[in-house]
Symmetry: C2
Subunit: 171 residues, 2 copies
DNA sequence: TTTTTTGAAATATGTAACACTTTTCAAAAA
DNA sequence: TTTTTGAAAAGTGTTACATATTTCAAAAAA
């Protein structure tokens, strides 16, 4: 027996899927499918960034206080292929805002400038130093009085591995 | 004229695409297509994390020094739907590793515990404070001697907006 | 009349299929 | 021996389709 027939407003409404939006097929490398699905499904990583010191109520996404939306990966990693992470040990770089256990984001493609914080290997040991360059002389400055600056000469067993672009401190 | 015919080894080799891997179509919400394409194409955000203080040469992905790979979004944001960013202003929280201009990652779904760093609105002004809870009394402690602790009473114009889980300090 | 059941309608979704592009290499031509 | 050529094999974006899900008015039941 027939129930109904053509009628307006029947059927599943548009945008009733989990995304509330139309979808389209995109080719994804098989190994990345799960990560992309997580990225899409569970996660919305373009999160709101608010300007601080608001005087009125709490800023909501509809507010003018919204500075924009931010994706941490895109914000903090300019060259993914040349970027790696290391965890800092010790308190010798607190002057640069680096504390014990902090995660350092290191870009190997960036050129160290005077004042850059860099990852350097000195005598085979990796460490964080501030790079100083003046009077044609390059030095590695620990921000710890217990150590003295290291002057870089040709042939030294010292090498810069990358520039620290950001420090992530967990509370 | 015919050139060739069936022969082994002819044709484009498998895995010769930009991903070096097979792909398959996955449905993506139209508004996210571009972000996903960037995520897939240009970017590989699961970046290597190295253990510091290596004694030998520079750690490479093949090394034992590799602690694992890390995605900043997944690592730093547990509840994307409840997370937002604010930028810190002023130097009143350096004791907690928060410096002027730092990006704060705030989770609204997390319960403030004694010692948590929280975002609170006090008299309509948003600020960062350390939450203290003892003897059944809750207080907001600025890490700045110029301000005094705020004791939270019922009916106060003070509200906790979320717990600061991480601080991102750019160099 | 009111409530419950039902199935056609409309959309969502994963994937096969396609049209087209790109790459490769052995055979043909030079 | 070197260069040209085109069929073969695989990559890629999109359409198409089979199936699943959701909705609601009409039919049936109470």
């Amino acid at each position: 027996m027939s129930r109904g027939g053509k009628r307006q407003g029947a059927g599943r409404p548009k945008g009733a899927g989990p995304y509330g939006e139309e979808t389209k097929p995109v080719r994804i490398p098989v190994s990345q499918v799960d990560r992309v699905r997580r990225f899409i499904r569970n996660r919305e990583y373009a999160l709101p960034l608010f300007a601080c010191r608001v005087s009125a109520g709490f800023p909501s996404p509809a507010d003018d206080y919204l500075e924009g939306s931010l994706d941490l990966n895109e914000h903090l990693v300019r060259e993914p292929a040349a970027t790696f992470f290391v965890r800092a040990r010790g308190d010798s770089m607190t002057g640069a805002g680096i504390h014990d256990g902090d995660l350092l984001i290191v870009d190997r493609s960036r050129q160290a400038k005077d004042g850059s914080v860099v990852i350097a290997s000195i005598n085979g040991e990796l460490s964080v130093k501030r790079y100083a360059c003046s009077n044609g002389q390059a030095r590695l400055m620990p921000e710890n009085p217990a150590y003295s600056p290291i002057i870089l000469n040709e042939g030294d067993d010292a090498r810069l591995w990358g520039v620290v672009t950001s420090v992530v401190h967990r509370l």
